[in-house]
């Protein structure tokens, strides 16, 4: 599979990236160079034997069910070094002021 210039522009829009023409052209070449190496995956035999599935168990973890620490499900203050207001340029009445959303595209 390969990507066209139109694909690259579409992907850039999805990824919220602004690309000029020169960069778009470079990315078409680079991405196609990389994707050519991925084609080998299409040839892999995907049959799974039952003996394979048995190998997927997380035995070390299963043997020690209490190994993962979970916090009690109660609200507690976040471990922050400073007041929230100091994190952002605009903070008012407990809210962070961010750029307007009113220019809906």
């Amino acid at each position: 599979m390969s990507v066209s210039e139109q694909d690259v522009r579409h992907i850039a829009a999805l990824a919220r990236l602004e690309l000029d023409d020169a960069r778009t052209e470079t990315l078409v070449r680079e991405l196609n160079g990389i994707l050519a190496h991925m084609d080998v995956l299409q040839a892999v035999d995907m049959t799974i034997e039952d003996s394979d599935k048995a190998l997927d168990a997380d035995t070390a973890l299963d043997a020690q069910a209490d190994a993962v620490l979970l916090r009690a499900d109660i609200a507690s203050p976040l471990p922050l070094a400073a007041e929230r207001a100091s994190f952002a340029p605009n903070y008012e009445d407990g809210f962070f002021l961010v750029p307007r959303l009113s220019t809906h595209e």
């Binding site: 599979m1 990507v3 694909d7 690259v8 579409h10 992907i11 850039a12 999805l14 990824a15 919220r16 990236l17 602004e18 690309l19 960069r23 990315l27 680079e30 991405l31 160079g33 990389i34 994707l35 190496h37 991925m38 080998v40 995956l41 299409q42 892999v44 995907m46 394979d52 190998l55 997927d56 997380d58 070390a60 973890l61 020690q64 190994a67 993962v68 620490l69 979970l70 916090r71 976040l78 471990p79 922050l80 070094a81 400073a82 100091s86 994190f87 961010v98 750029p99 307007r100 959303l101 220019t103 595209e105």
Partner: protein, 483 residues
């Protein structure tokens, strides 16, 4: 050279013991390490390994220190959150950003008495294998200044190799601790996925990321890992399984300390095309393992050649999602534009460097409608096969595997420009990240004066076995590991 500078040659364990016993002033090594940074970063031959430093630390340590790493200076990679220094991830988009909370690993180091004296250079958002992708310029390899230190944790590896610190933290997604450790002639450990908390590690690819440790010696790295390992309520993927200490003890002193252990030598990691010099150094290490009492057995991991294609689908896919948060609103820089979407696009395009853009594009593509099954889903299924290869070999009675860490020694800065060619330098390391198993690199010799790393891989949560083998090999190779 002052006596304080000599403290940097003392092992982390001995230094901490000296500080606890009162034989060494608690701030002495901290001050010596800060002075060593000053020297390493001065003039035209500056390493560019340490991006930020905390010069107040030494004075605070004069008040005293206790714990496993009492008075031991440590540097950490710039994608690990610290309160007192910026966390910029080698990126313009986070230039000057200071985290409002501290990572669990750094909190644990501080609690163990360590002094966090600096943040180290890295490939932007840990995407790279040479530390040339940093927005703050490339780091030089202290052993050969015209060459790369490896990456992405190149600054941490270089700081240890330059003698600034005995212990440093890095992070691994596909070999970013082991490969620079090999290029710089130091020890680098990637623990089992889940062994170390990632709370405060800036996410790259969450199913692969793990904090790792560099040490000048195997014991330095083992002590560092011992301090940061274990379950953390702030990271549900972390857990406490198996040994709490990884330091090899008296068993290393017997003639055949590895008797009873079977070490596999996977043929896929020794292809016909492998550099002859690296092959010869690995052969010598293999013979040494035999002489230490281990049985060395040829084994096969048949899906190894699929690891790079799988990795470069899974990692960019996860990165494209994780890096969506850098939008000009929540963190760091903002490029003002009319309209929110235009602001996002302008900020991200100017804030991210070329390799990060390339990987976000690749990741967005493989996750997009129509391509998800062919790329991402298939890659995850092949990833399972790579993991099963390891499980099958370990279930056959093999305790650990021995391989070269990287297919080449450190290459000259600017020598590799094709992205995929650079991706191939991770060919022997990405498999451990894909399978979640622990791995480490240690110096085993040199080719043309440049260090060669030998890699040990072990089953999940079997770091203890890995360190036991590494310590015995280090002791047996002695000076020849660095010659």
């Amino acid at each position: 050279m002052s006596s304080n500078a000599a403290l940097l040659d003392v092992s982390a364990a001995d230094l901490a013991e000296g500080v606890r016993d009162g034989r060494v002033a608690p701030g002495a090594a901290v001050r010596a390490a800060l002075a060593a940074i000053e020297r390493a970063e001065a003039g035209a031959s500056a390493l560019n390994a340490v991006l930020h430093r905390d010069i107040e630390t030494a004075n605070e340590f004069d008040q005293g220190a206790s714990g496993l790493l009492a008075g031991v200076p440590v540097v950490v990679k710039d994608n690990i959150a610290t309160l007192r220094m910026p966390t910029s991830c080698g990126s313009r988009i986070l230039d000057g950003y200071v985290s409002p909370f501290e990572s669990t690993v750094v909190a644990r180091l501080r609690a163990a008495g360590a002094a966090i004296i600096g943040k180290t250079n890295m490939d932007e958002f840990a995407m790279g294998s040479s530390t040339e992708n940093s927005a703050f310029g490339p780091t030089r390899n202290p052993l050969s200044q015209s060459r790369v230190p490896g990456g992405s944790s190149g600054g941490s590896a270089a700081a240890v190799a330059a003698g600034i610190v005995r212990v440093a933290l890095g992070s691994e997604t596909g070999g970013s601790v082991r490969q620079p450790a090999a290029f710089c002639g130091v020890v680098g450990v990637k623990p089992t996925y889940g062994r170390v908390s990632r709370h405060g590690l800036v996410a790259f690819a969450s199913s692969l990321d793990q904090v790792g440790v560099f040490g000048r010696t195997v014991d330095d790295a083992a002590l560092g890992l011992e301090v940061i390992a274990g379950a953390d309520p702030y990271d549900a993927t972390s857990c406490s399984v198996g040994a709490a200490s990884f330091r090899a003890r008296d068993s290393a002193l017997t003639d055949h300390p590895l008797a009873g252990l079977v070490i596999g030598r996977p043929r896929e990691y020794f292809p016909a095309s492998l550099d002859a010099g690296i092959r010869a150094v690995c052969e010598h290490a293999t013979e040494t393992l035999r002489a230490l009492g281990a049985e060395v057995r040829d084994v096969s991991l048949p899906h190894t050649d699929l690891a790079i294609p799988v990795y470069y689908i899974v990692a960019p896919a996860e990165a494209s999602s994780n890096l969506a948060r850098f939008d000009g609103v929540r963190y760091g820089m903002r490029v003002e534009r009319d309209g929110l979407r235009a602001m996002y696009e302008a900020t991200r395009s100017r804030g991210f460097g070329p390799e990060v853009v390339r990987r976000i594009m690749l990741g967005t593509y493989v996750l997009s409608a129509g391509y998800y099954d062919a790329y991402y889903l298939r890659a995850q299924e092949v990833r399972r096969r790579i993991r099963r290869d390891f499980t099958r070999v370990f279930a056959s009675g093999v305790h650990a595997l021995f391989t070269p860490t990287a297919p080449t020694v450190a290459f000259p800065i600017g020598a590799v420009s094709d992205p995929y060619e650079l991706y191939l330098s991770d060919i022997f390391t990405v498999t451990a990240n894909l399978a979640g198993i622990p791995g480490m690199s240690q110096p085993i010799g040199r080719v043309d004066g440049l260090p060669v790393g030998g890699q040990l891989l072990a089953p999940h949560f079997e770091e203890g076995t890995m360190f036991r083998i590494a310590a015995a090999l280090e002791r047996a190779l002695g000076r020849s590991a660095h010659e």
